[in-house]
Amino acid sequence: MNDLSSAVNNTADNQINIDHVNEILDSNKDFRGGAIPVLQKIQIKYGYLPKESLYLVSKRLRIPLAHLVGVASFYAQFRMSPRGKYMIKICCGTACHVKGSIKLVDRALENLEIEAGETSTDNLFTVERVACIGACSLAPAITLNDVAAGHLNADQLEKIIADLKADGLS
């Protein structure tokens, strides 16, 4: 707890407007214990939990940062990095696995030079592995910003990514 503020300075990402976090915390004034509702609101606002928001929540709610980040990194619902414009979720459920979803994952990650769960440097794509999305008949299936697509092979997925990239850059 010794050096929170200096840590905030060191990690400040100037593009983020932290004021919303303060607003969220202000509107949760009466709240005691359990940071989860606050984190949820922050995630709705920013799409993920910006690092500096966690420093701020830790300081204002007086929850040690190590414990707060522990909570945030424990629950799958929380994202610790910004979401790309396009969220590609690749199903790795049993049916899709059998139909070779791993190849889709590998190709997408290779193409975007990221790890699963990360966002590409141009902030366009986030790729996640997910469990069965209930579209087994389309296996291997993906969702692109919550729209499902299926029967894909790696080349087709790569094409989709390339097209979106062209779009996003124009």
Binding site: M1, N2, L4, S5, S6, K59, A66, G70, F74
Partner: protein, 846 residues
């Protein structure tokens, strides 16, 4: 929580009678039955994660498998710890544990001191069925003392608990989940915390390691000796680990001493001053315009001749002694005995010089040097009230004790301070007052506590006196003076009176305060009204003992008054020196130039003294001025005793041979005595101890053989208790608030967590943690002054200037800064003008 009924259970056929609040695991420990549990620690909240403590519990004819660390004992139950079934279960659990463990034993520092090794061996686990899958996390060496290897972590959670519950830091936690869980810092940022090392003390494996120990030895190679920490006044027991005569590390033992295994950074890591390069190893005398090494007989003769001649020519008042509060009792006793027997009574400590009125004032009030309290009595407090006290930095292990009592007994904590000092990482009841308003704030609390229920006024001088008479004050005035709102004061008063019996801790800030005597009086009134106690802890490991031994111009051993000596003299020793009235000055084990207010003045004064005799373990600003320099052993190279905060007299033990030809003070006094015609017939330190037990009433029965003496508290308590119900009058109710447009910021100088006195600066490890003096400034002030964290700044007072490192943090409110002392390169105390009551400064980029 314990309920005090004792019950009897049977473990593996043996009957055990135990407190009904305990768990089966405790009963096993009590009965000496080993369980291979890995996550249980009696001093931490139960975690129940490792499952290695499985036992069978038979109750009313039914047998169930239970975790011994979580299962309460119940009358008549029958526990089996080693049945075929249990052995099988443990083996399976161990198989899983080892499948994820790197088994690095040949290169692991924990080898030989590892609960996983012990447990695996105990359950006779050879190769399991599951292939070993180790994580390949990098070794994290991101701070000077604690090295982390996440691969070895068995997720017992003990480090997380101790860091949060006992250390109040919460620097580490469980990150991520599942197989990828790691116990460490958020986002893997470098560890920056109290560096108490409590985590590595509890870590059952080699995941958290003492980085300073690396490759220096294994557990089975060390010779271990328990002795007492040479830093602060808590009096923690440290265990010195020595390999082939060289000091390797300090560990701690939960079962020995007052500290329950807790230590702070200084105690655990600050031991390497012992082998520091700055150690003095040979006696030296000043000749041919420099200091030259000499023999012991030469230095003794030269020093004795000088003292004799000075007394002859100028009388005994021209000789003075300044002694540290880190000397042993035996040293202090012989020192005063020798000098008093040649007619020299001007014996001082820096604390007494700094605040003669406080020392004499407390003596008058409490009959001993301090109001003392057995640490065990902390658990019967109704509440804790830290007033101007930053316990987590000043007496870290006291803070540990208080957190434990708060956790176990749900005792509330109140904090009033002029800075936002931390105590726990969680929500706290606190008020922030303006420096200088202490007595008024305390009077306002008394007003709210309704000493006179119908009065809206309180008499600040005497809150038990009639409220209408001057100087009286009402709530709006109190709020105005203290900067604390009426509601906040009222809330705190309500809390304090609801909980009752507060233990009020007054800190270093109060100790150094120009009006400390009055604040102590005001706080004592409050405590008395609520049936509580006031505590003012001294700074050093033997502050209590050195005063008990009579290192004071006003008191002989056992606080016998010296006739015809002013309690608070009009002109102090340094002023006398400045006037050339002190011809010979003996400085024993301290460095007034760095460690006393207005060091510049001190230095000038000391340069007026013809002959300085320095006794010191290290080269310091003072030894440079000396005509004779005696090399001293440190506390790790000799036997002796220290008396702690409680008045507990504890033995220190020699753990290594003296460095060079250094010697302890009592030996030097004995030989100096022979040269001065005073025979002291001690053959060893023990002989001195025996004499102390005769001469000092509170130390009756004390001897180096009587180890049990340290388990009791010296008996001055009787003296203090009877005076405890008195009410005190505040002598000076004037406001100390000074507005100085040129120097607008109030500065408070104190000890950081990592440095204390003259020792710590000679520890490489502590210097690595904190290499230099820093100023803590609040974010708002930083913004106004256009300063950033990490800037090089110059701090100026009207008296002096120092360069420092700027730390921007929330501890400092607007208009207040905190500056760390003890750094001889930029001694913060040089900023202080000895005539001013409050230090005012400016801060600018250098």
């Amino acid at each position: 929580m314990s309920n005090n009924n004792m019950i009897t259970i049977t473990i593996d056929g043996t009957e055990v009678t135990i407190d009904g609040g305990k768990k089966i695991y405790d009963a096993c420990i009590q009965a000496g039955i080993y369980l291979p549990g890995l996550c249980y620690d009696p001093k931490l909240t139960r975690f129940g994660g490792c499952r290695m403590c499985v036992v069978d519990v038979t109750s009313r004819g039914r047998t169930r498998t239970k975790w011994a660390c979580c299962e309460p004992v119940k009358e008549g139950i029958n526990v089996s710890t080693n049945s075929e079934e249990i052995r099988k279960k443990r083996k399976v659990i161990m198989e899983f544990l080892l499948a994820a463990h790197p088994l690095d034993c040949p290169t692991c520092n924990a080898s030989g001191d590892c609960s996983l090794q012990d447990a695996a061996y105990f359950v006779e686990q050879k190769r399991g069925r599951i292939p070993i899958k180790r994580r390949n996390e990098p070794l994290l060496i991101d701070n000077p003392v604690i090295e982390r290897d996440y691969n070895k972590c068995i997720m017992c959670g003990k480090c997380v608990s101790i860091c949060d519950e006992i250390q109040g830091n919460g620097a580490i936690g469980f990150q991520k989940r599942g197989y990828w869980t790691e116990v460490g810092t958020p986002f893997r940022i470098p560890l920056k915390c109290d560096f108490c090392g409590q985590c590595l003390h509890v870590c059952p494996v080699g995941s958290f390691q003492d980085h300073t120990e690396l490759y220096k030895g294994h557990a089975w190679e060390y010779e271990t000796t328990s002795t007492i920490c040479p830093y602060c006044s808590v009096g923690c027991t440290v265990v010195a680990n020595v390999k082939k005569g060289s000091f390797v590390k300090i560990t701690s033992n939960d079962l020995i001493g007052v500290n329950n295994g807790n230590l702070c950074a200084k105690g655990r890591f600050g031991h390497d001053f012992v082998q520091a390069e700055s150690r003095l190893t040979q006696p030296a005398v000043y000749k041919h315009s420099k200091q030259e090494d000499c023999t012991w007989s030469e230095i003794l003769e030269i020093t004795a001749n000088n003292i004799k001649k000075t007394i002859q020519d100028y009388g005994p008042d021209s000789v003075a002694v300044i002694a540290s509060e880190t000397m042993t009792n035996e040293d202090a006793f012989t020192l005063q005995k020798l000098f008093r027997s040649i007619g020299i009574n001007n014996l001082q400590t820096l604390s007494n010089l700094n605040n003669p009125e406080l020392n004499s004032g407390i003596f008058e009030k409490f009959g001993a040097l301090a109001p003392l309290l057995d640490y065990n009595e902390l658990s019967s407090a109704g509440s804790f009230f830290f007033f101007g006290c930053d316990a987590s930095k000043e007496n870290p292990v006291i803070a540990n004790m208080v957190r434990v009592v708060m956790r176990d007994k749900k005792i509330p904590l109140y904090i009033a301070n002029c800075r936002n000092t931390e105590f726990t990482p969680h929500e706290e009841e606190r008020i922030l007052y303006k420096y200088g308003s202490e007595t008024h704030l305390l009077a306002a609390l008394m007003l709210k506590l309704s000493v006179f229920p119908n009065s809206e006024m309180v008499n600040v001088e005497n809150p038990f006196g009639s409220p209408g008479t001057t100087p009286s004050m009402n709530m709006p005035t109190a709020a105005d003076i203290s900067g604390v709102s009426e509601e906040e004061i009222a809330d705190m008063a309500k809390g304090l009176s609801g909980a009752g019996k507060p233990v009020i801790f007054l800190g270093k800030e109060i100790h150094d305060h120009k009006r400390s005597t009055d604040i102590v009086a005001a706080a004592t009134n409050l405590a008395n009204f609520l049936g509580g106690r006031v505590i003012l802890y001294r700074e050093y490991c033997n502050s209590q003992g050195v005063n008990d031994m009579g290192i004071s111009p006003t008191h002989l051993p056992n606080y016998k008054k010296v006739q015809d000596v002013d309690l608070a003299p009009a002109i102090d020793l340094f002023e006398k020196m400045k006037l050339g009235k002190i011809k010979t000055l003996v400085v024993a084990d301290c460095d007034p130039i760095t460690h006393f207010n207005d060091g510049k003045f001190v230095q000038e004064a000391m340069s007026q003294t013809e002959f300085i005799v320095a006794l010191s373990s290290f080269a310091t600003s003072t030894t440079k001025l000396a005509k004779t320099v005696f090399p001293l052993t440190t506390s790790y190279e000799r036997d002796g005793s220290f008396t702690n905060n409680e008045g507990r007299v504890q033995l220190i033990r020699k753990v290594i041979e003296p460095i060079g030809s250094s010697r302890p003070i009592w030996e030097i006094m004995k030989d100096l005595g022979s040269n001065l015609g005073i025979e002291m017939s001690y053959n060893n330190c023990e002989d001195v101890a025996n004499e102390i037990s005769q001469a000092v009433e509170a130390y009756r029965g004390f001897s180096h053989k009587n180890i049990a003496f340290g388990s009791q508290v010296a008996k001055y308590k009787a003296m203090s208790d009877e005076k405890h119900s008195l009410n005190f009058t505040i002598k000076n109710v004037e406001q100390t608030e000074q507005i100085d447009v040129k120097f607008p910021i109030t500065a408070i100088i104190g000890n950081s967590l990592y440095h204390l006195g003259a020792l710590s600066r000679h520890s490489k490890t502590l210097n690595n943690i904190e290499p230099r003096v820093s100023v803590e400034l609040g974010p708002d002030d930083a913004k106004n002054l256009e300063l950033n964290d990490g800037d090089e700044v110059t701090v100026k007072s009207k008296h002096g200037a120092i360069k420092a490192l700027l730390k921007v943090d929330n501890r400092s409110p607007i208009g207040v800064v905190f500056i760390t002392k003890n750094f001889e390169v930029a001694p913060a105390l040089h900023l202080i003008d000895r005539n001013d009551s409050v230090l005012k400064v400016t801060i600018a980029k250098s």
